[in-house]
């Protein structure tokens, strides 16, 4: 590469962050937002008072999902996250940090998933871009995935049927999050409590997950929660 071409590349990469066009992806009032499992009518199923079983399923729908990539050696990245979100960027593998409705999950040494209250992600993205210097990537993927919560005394058995990951409490303590294979798809799986788990699922696989989870929990009884 010639010296001139090299200089251009450097100039473009240093200016790349500030030139990013940020889009407000929420359509706003008057347009009904539909979660990936909208067609299932989970809210309606949850009204059935005769449901019994050892596994409960709830969709934490329409949250704000931001995927952050950056270099953790960049002090401004750590500072900016703390300032805007009020939580530390989790640097230890397979860990997460959370406060209130905001959480950050480690996905790789330079990749994190930020979950925030639905509707707040646009403002937060703008604030993060303002607060962080240097080369980062921040993408709003809220429309592309959803969060499913699996809980109850038999929830772990359903996971054990579905993933090769060792979800025994000895290797999967509360607060740990792993990205792994789940049935014939992939999920970001987090243990949120003694008997509760959260899975981040791709939009296009959410119906498959719904069918899979109904089948896998059939022997324990599946309870839908709103």
């Amino acid at each position: 590469m010639s010296e001139v071409a090299k200089a251009q590349v450097v100039e473009e990469s240093s200016a790349a962050v500030s030139k990013v066009a940020v889009l407000q992806q929420r359509a706003g009032a008057g347009v009904q937002a539909e979660s990936p499992l909208h067609h299932v009518g989970l809210d309606h199923l949850a009204l059935n008072v005769h449901q019994r079983g050892g596994v409960a399923l709830r969709e934490k729908k329409l949250l704000g999902h931001l995927v952050l990539r950056g270099n953790s050696a960049n002090a401004s990245l750590l500072k900016g996250i703390k300032k805007v979100l009020g939580v530390e960027l989790p640097l230890a593998p397979l860990s997460c940090s959370a406060k209130g409705t905001t959480s950050i999950q480690w996905m790789g040494p330079d990749e994190w998933l930020i979950l925030v209250e639905g509707g707040s992600e646009y403002g937060i993205e703008l604030a993060l871009r303002e607060a962080i210097d240097g080369h980062i990537s921040l993408v709003n993927v809220s429309g592309g995935q959803t969060v499913l919560e699996l809980s109850g005394p038999d929830a772990r058995k359903v996971l054990q049927k579905s993933t090769p990951y060792d979800v025994h409490p000895g290797s999967f303590p509360v607060g740990k999050c792993v990205s792994t294979v789940f049935a014939k798809t992939q999920v970001l799986l987090q243990r949120t409590g003694e008997d509760s788990y959260e899975m981040v699922v791709r939009r296009s696989f959410s119906d498959y997950m719904w069918l899979w989870l109904q089948d896998a929990s059939a022997e324990y009884g599946l309870v839908i929660k709103a």
């Binding site: 593998p93 397979l94 996905m107 790789g108 040494p109 990749e111 090769p164 990951y165 792994t180």
Partner: protein, 101 residues
Amino acid sequence: MLHIYCPYCGENRDQDEFKAKGEAHISRPLDPMGCTDQQWGDYMFFRKNPRGVHHEMWYHVAGCRKFFNMTRDTVTYRIYETYKMGEQPSVTAESLAGGQS
């Protein structure tokens, strides 16, 4: 089924989460236009296929989505080590032949 230690996730994971991506430590010639056809062809197409200790790239595709390297025996399937990109293997055919393991 192999259990593979991902050096980025820091734990053993099921083979289902990974993809093998071929020989490790292949660097692209710095001056492609200055290469002979043979040099470029070697870089592009020709790979070692040893019987025994081999260094391979693996991809933790369902996990942290990072590439890393592995020293593996192609006969016994024994995995000697996995190490991050940019690092050098501590186990080689030579080191094993020399009695160190």
